[in-house]
């Protein structure tokens, strides 16, 4: 195991920031640390890098407990959210900066700088000052600087959040390529689930200072362990669930029945993904795995239509469809495959 975070707990004064956070990263793996703003991602990264001393818990690098070690002895590369290129050094000097403490001589340093500038396609900017670089070039230069000393772990703390969308998508591809070429063990911190799902081999989803779920992106998306993970990874609507027997709620009732018998007393949360719902203008309520309601509105999103259905049983259901959608006010029946229902016992 390259990196182990074990029972990490941290408080800023009396303000709890992390609560028993544990996860592991294997050699060469890319793990996405995903969660909303303020969920404790950055504190986790700071604790791994050594810029924050956790109140409790351990950080281990290749089995070595580094929890109380200073940052300079940890062998952890960091790319921060905002640019931290040294403004008084050229791009080349920035990339070379970490090589001297790593013990490389001047000739080796020059060769390594060449190699990493080439890796991030910045060979022409070697003599440029950071202020002369574009936003994307700055990010690439920082990536080269963090990678050049060949750290055991690379921490990327929201490296693309400050960039506009087009650039973000391109750089995301580039980061994926650079990671493949270097094979560096990477923790990628982001609040953007699209980026996390695209880059990461595994995800650690955080909420409110705690780990809400760990797994492969597809697994977590398809069978999320908690309602939070379900709603954070992709969109979903909550479908009201009441005890079986109520004719308006056969969907959930049948689902529960299919889930292993009659559990009328169990308090259950049922979530549905918008693209798992099909809409039917005919057919009565009471049908299997179907919910009836009125269309509240239908919006053309370019690639698909976004339909909001006001359910008879209460609540609103978001539906994504590529077919011509029903008009606002029309009666519809929403159907969901039994396997696509996301059920959580509370």
């Amino acid at each position: 195991m390259t990196l182990e975070v074990d029972g990490l707990t941290h408080r800023y004064g009396n303000e709890p920031a992390l609560e028993d956070v544990s996860f592991e990263i294997d050699a060469g793996e890319v793990v996405g640390l995903l969660g909303p703003s303020g969920c404790g991602k950055t504190t986790t990264v700071q604790a791994i890098a050594g810029h924050v001393s956790p109140t409790e818990g351990q950080v281990r690098l290749r089995g070595r407990n580094v929890t109380t070690d200073p940052p300079e002895t940890r062998d952890v590369g960091v790319v921060f959210q905002e640019s931290t290129l040294f403004p008084h050094m050229t791009v080349g000097e920035n990339v070379a900066y970490g090589l001297r403490p790593a013990g490389y001589g001047p000739d080796e340093r020059a060769a390594i700088v060449d190699r990493y500038l080439e890796l991030v396609s910045l060979s022409d900017q070697r003599e440029a000052m950071p202020a002369a670089l574009s936003g994307g070039q700055k990010r690439r230069a920082e990536l080269a600087r963090a990678l050049a000393p060949q750290p055991e772990v690379l921490l990327l703390d929201e490296p693309l959040s400050a960039l506009d969308r087009g650039l973000r998508d391109r750089l995301r591809e580039e980061i994926a390529r650079i990671q493949r070429e270097t094979g560096v063990t990477t923790l990628y911190v982001t609040h953007d689930q699209e980026t996390a799902m695209a880059l990461a081999d595994r995800l650690v989803v955080m909420n409110d200072g705690q780990v809400a779920g760990v797994g492969r992106p597809r697994e977590l998306y398809e069978s999320p362990p908690t309602p939070f993970v379900a709603s954070f990874l992709g969109r979903s609507s909550q479908v009201p669930v009441t005890p079986p027997g109520d004719p308006g709620l056969t969907l959930a009732a049948r689902a529960l029945a299919g889930d292993g018998g009659d559990r009328p007393e169990t308090d259950v949360t049922c979530l549905v993904r918008p693209d798992d719902v099909t809409l039917d203008e005919n057919g009565g309520a009471g049908e299997a795995h179907a919910l009836s309601g009125d269309v509240a509105r239908a919006v053309d999103m370019g690639t698909h239509y976004e339909v909001r259905v006001e359910l008879d049983a209460g609540g609103e259901l978001a539906v994504e469809t590529r077919a011509e959608p029903p008009q606002a006010g029309e009666r519809v029946v929403a159907r969901v495959d039994r396997d696509d229902l996301l059920l959580f016992g509370n």
Partner: protein
């Protein structure tokens, strides 16, 4: 709409500048007039003869020596303090900061009196120093003590502002790239705050060169340029101050110019 923005533009272009120009103009004129009238006096005085006086030459040597030592001491002790004040918070920090600026608000004569109460000839510290052959009063060492006390806050306060303006994340990046806190200070914080530190050094030197009140209290002898000027003024009136005053002005301006040139310090505020 266009009328509104037009009015805005006109306002910011002229009338909003008019007031500061008028007010600042009065101040600039007030700075400039005594300067010019003083320089006009040089016609009446024999500058070269005044500077040839052995007393004047000794005063110039003493001032250059003591102000340089005071500046080096103030910088060596003050810059690390400035960095800590900019980066750390700790109990009693406000008190410490108050202590650092105290010499700035204290009348120099009072500062001199206070120094005498600490290191004067009949104090424990003063007599101990005298016993090992170091006289803290009526000596060049005493001049340095007075100058350092009065001038050191300039380098501390200015450097502190410079360090505070350096993004702390740059220092974290440096740490994560394998550099200790001391190396990070050397390679990141200090170069980036260089302008402010040099500005502080310059101010400290200029203040030490010009120091009179505390110096006169602690060490009226040997003479520095300011104390020599005072004695000359008492003896021979205004005209007899002109040669050394010009020399003091010239030396201070020269040092300011050299430091600014090497440090490439932007006029007043860094960037």
């Amino acid at each position: 709409m266009s009328g509104y923005t037009g009015r805005l533009r006109r306002d910011s272009g002229h009338s909003t500048l008019l007031v500061p120009i008028l007010l600042g103009g009065v101040l600039i004129a007030y700075f400039g007039v005594p300067f010019v009238t003083f320089l006009l006096r040089t016609g009446h005085a024999d500058v070269l003869a005044g500077l040839a006086e052995p007393g004047a030459q000794a005063a110039i040597r003493h001032s250059l020596l003591t102000a340089t030592i005071a500046t080096v001491v103030a910088t060596g002790l003050g810059v690390p303090l400035a960095y800590v004040l900019a980066r750390r918070s700790f109990a009693g920090k406000r008190l410490l900061e108050g202590l650092v600026v105290l010499p700035l608000v204290l009348p120099p004569v009072v500062a001199g009196a206070m120094i005498l109460t600490a290191v004067g000839r009949f104090t424990p510290l003063g007599s101990t120093l005298a016993a090992v052959g170091v006289s803290p009063t009526q000596s060049l060492f005493g001049v340095v003590l007075a100058q350092t006390f009065v001038a050191a806050p300039f380098v501390v306060v200015t450097a502190r502002a410079g360090f505070a303006a350096v993004d702390e994340r740059l220092e974290r990046a440096s740490r994560s790239l394998g550099y200790t806190p001391l190396e990070t200070f050397r390679y990141v914080a200090l170069p980036l705050a260089r302008g402010a530190v040099l500005a502080g050094v310059t101010l400290t030197f200029a203040r030490a060169m010009g120091e009179f009140g505390a110096t006169y209290m602690v060490a009226s002898n040997p003479r520095t340029m300011p104390t020599y000027l005072w004695v000359e003024f008492i003896k021979g009136g205004l005209d007899s101050t002109v040669p050394v005053a010009l020399a003091l002005l010239a030396v201070t301006l020269l040092v300011l110019g050299v430091v600014q040139w090497f440090g490439r310090v932007p006029a007043v505020i860094d960037r």
